[in-house]
């Protein structure tokens, strides 16, 4: 609902007030986030425990399959479970927020068809659940670090940058798919599949030092998640963890470009969401 005192409604939307409108509605953003958070654990038997159990179980399975069965090694001096859990922490954050952003418009279709507010609030608020899950997983990571008696490196001060980068990347991809999802319901089927494939393409269960020196390394680094996951591990585990700065540049450039394009696309389509829902 608009709260300004004078508006002009016309085809193409009222561009200049959009960001002001978004800011004026920050309270609604907070309330929508809170709604998602409180709904999430109501009526579940184990409640918040799920956020703890899921990453722990995934880590255990991955350690068994990749480390014991497939004999993949982490970078020297780093315990394999820590490498996997580090990768999983940031990957799951990306995967969850990406999925939630992509579905945010459809899930809130009852709002879209009945009331106005800047539609960008829906993808923005849907990030909250993923972020809280991330904090919980990160807490587990710290506990596991303590268990392996691995010191936390000083580079941890750069951690917020990588969290921000993850957010930008998931927004970039998510907004695009959120729009498509409104028009084509098939996208809903595609998203879990993409997340599943993505986990193998990204260096979650293996260190990207394995890719170093191969002919496809430069293509591999185009994936913005490579820079994010390697960087995230580098922050936590220090220089022993392989981190190619080149992948970081590609992350920053690719993700920013995708975000800008997606934002333009989203803004162009948001006023007609209701006609397709």
């Amino acid at each position: 609902m608009a709260t300004q005192h004078s508006i002009t409604i016309k085809a193409g939307g009222s561009e200049k007030d959009y960001w002001k409108d978004l800011w004026l509605n920050k309270q609604l953003l907070w309330i929508l986030s809170k709604r998602d958070l409180s709904v999430r654990y109501k009526q579940t038997l184990l409640g918040v425990a799920w956020s703890v159990l899921r990453p722990l179980m995934t880590m255990t399975v991955m350690v068994f399959v990749y480390s014991y069965v497939a004999k993949i090694k982490a970078d020297p001096g780093i315990p394999y479970p820590l490498m996997v859990l580090g990768g999983l922490t940031i990957w799951t954050f990306f995967a969850n927020t990406f999925t939630q952003i992509s579905n945010s418009i459809l899930i809130n279709h009852n709002l879209v068809s009945k009331v106005y507010f800047p539609r960008l609030l829906m993808p923005l608020s849907s990030v909250a659940v993923g972020f809280v899950d991330f904090l919980i997983t990160f807490g587990i990571y710290l506990l596991v670090t303590a268990f392996f008696q691995t010191p936390i490196s000083w580079q941890i001060i750069f951690l917020p940058c990588f969290i921000l980068l993850t957010f930008i990347t998931s927004m970039g991809f998510g907004l695009f798919f959120a729009v498509l999802n409104v028009r084509f319901r098939d996208i809903g089927q595609l998203i879990p599949f993409m997340v599943q494939v993505g986990m193998y393409v990204c260096p979650v269960a293996y260190p990207s030092s394995l890719v170093k020196g191969t002919w496809y390394e430069k293509y591999y680094n185009l994936n913005p998640l490579v820079g994010i996951i390697d960087g995230f591990r580098w922050c936590l585990l220090g220089s022993k963890s392989y981190f190619n700065p080149q992948s970081l540049y590609s992350t920053v450039i690719t993700s920013s470009i995708i975000l800008v394009i997606s934002l333009i696309y989203f803004r162009k389509k948001e006023n007609t969401f209701v006609d397709h829902i």
Binding site: M1, A2, T3, H5, S6, I7, T8, I9, K10, A11, G12, G13, Q27, L28, I31, L32, R35, S38, V39, K42, Q43, N108, N110, L111, V112, S113, K114, V115, Y116, F117, R183, F184, R185, D186, N271, T272, V274, D275
Partner: protein
């Protein structure tokens, strides 16, 4: 001073005749393309996309403090206009300038989440409708009081009765404080008591000098609340002015009788891929060689449709409305399982049952006694003329129905005078 000025508002929708259900998928686009490649010779106009103008060249201006009623048939563009004004969708052409804080109430309890408690939903819904946290906190007690849900504040709303749910939704909306309020047919829900409460609250709004836009099929409510009205027909604003004038005009224009509708071609008949309507007819048993229906005339309805799903369990549900939109009754048949082919239903309204006036009938085909497959709204329209015997009073007979009941008087005691 004009607070709302609309210039050349038009809204176009693209209707796809080929798609039977609203949602389209990639599959449809892929299969359409494949179809086009392989079956070019079968291409006919029917499968093409068609433009539909829900609104065309609408111009108006509304002054501060005006209470505008919007009347028109279903599909005349009323709701589209409200959606554009509420910024839910944008016009294809034209622009609207709005001065003042605007709130729109297109639904009661928008965004209520079933898992959240009443308290949480008050804050959620309030924020969605544009209230600040401070405003909600300020009116919180009043809202709870108005809705009468004190005891259930910490119960998830999914456990609320539908009445409580609607009351809570309306209570929140009633405490909005906009300068311009847009209301769409919310009175259609809830019991009489609730509707009275709604109307009362809306009268408060209109009396406090705020601007009101109100869409309703309930002409009585519009006449009670609005000083001016707009009359929409087929997406155009064809008349505007004083409410009494507009309502009379509307009634005279729509009061053409339609006692029969039928379609010979199954492909162009109204319906969908499960059922299509063949005919809906009304046979009055005229009395005294008259050829109009009066209050004594029994009326038979005959409805026929094609069922295209083998073994579908179907039943019919018929609504009878007064011209002003109040539902007089709803009757349903038993559900039965039908094989493909024509299915017909009949219904008789006995003579000496309805009062004189104009009536509108709609027919629903319902599947599994729960899903409405097709709703033929405002399908038939008929007038019942007055007829009286042995009466010397000719005022308007009150009431929607005029049944003949076992109602008699007799002398129960004689006083003997000496």
């Amino acid at each position: 001073m004009s607070v709302i000025v609309a210039e050349n508002i038009s809204k176009k929708y693209i209707i796809d005749h080929q798609r039977k259900n609203g949602s389209s998928g990639l599959r449809d686009i892929v299969s359409d393309t494949v179809d086009k490649w392989f079956r070019k010779q079968e291409k006919n106009g029917f499968a093409e996309k068609e433009e539909f103008w829900a609104l065309q060249d609408v111009n108006f201006s509304i002054d501060k403090g005006d209470r505008i009623g919007i009347v028109g048939h279903n599909g005349a563009g009323k709701s589209t206009l409200l959606k554009i004004m509420s910024r839910i969708t944008e016009p294809t052409t034209g622009q609207i300038k709005i001065d003042g804080r605007i709130a729109s109430l297109l639904e009661v309890g928008t965004g209520f989440h079933p898992e959240l408690t009443g308290r949480e939903n008050i804050f959620l819904n309030g924020a969605i409708l544009g209230m600040s946290k401070a405003e909600i906190r300020e009116s919180f007690d009043a809202i709870v009081d108005f809705a009468g849900v004190e005891k259930f504040l910490d119960t998830p709303v999914k456990r609320y009765s539908s009445g409580m749910y609607v009351r809570l939704g309306f209570a929140i909306a009633a405490h909005l404080n906009p300068e311009i309020l847009i209301v769409d047919e919310v009175l259609a829900v809830g019991d009489t008591e609730f509707q009275k409460k709604c109307l009362g609250k809306m009268r408060d709004v209109s009396e406090s000098g705020r601007t009101l836009l109100f869409v309703s099929h309930n002409l009585t409510a519009i006449q009670a609340l609005c000083n001016k009205s707009f009359y929409f027909e087929k997406g155009r604003l064809i008349d505007q002015g004083d409410t009494t004038h507009i309502v009379t005009n509307y009634l005279s224009k729509v009061s053409h009788k339609s006692l029969e509708k039928h379609w010979d071609n199954i492909d162009s008949a109204p319906g969908n891929d499960q059922v299509r309507v063949k005919s809906f007819k009304l046979f009055p048993e005229y009395q005294d060689d008259l050829n109009h229906i009066d209050v004594r005339t029994p009326i038979n309805f005959q409805f026929e449709f094609w069922n295209m799903v083998e073994g579908a369990s179907l039943n019919l549900s018929m609504h009878l409305y007064t011209f002003t939109g109040e539902c007089i009754f709803n009757v349903g048949t038993q559900a039965e399982s039908f094989s493909k082919g024509l299915v017909s239903g009949t219904c008789e309204i006995p003579g000496n049952f309805l009062n004189d006036g104009s009536y509108v009938v709609s027919m629903m085909i319902v599947k599994d006694t729960s899903t409405v497959l097709y709703n033929m709204e405002e399908a038939l329209v008929f007038d019942i003329e007055d007829y009286r015997e042995n009466v010397t009073w000719y005022g308007k007979w009150p009431g929607y129905i005029r049944p003949q009941l076992n109602f008699s008087i007799r002398q129960s005691e004689h006083v003997v005078n000496d």
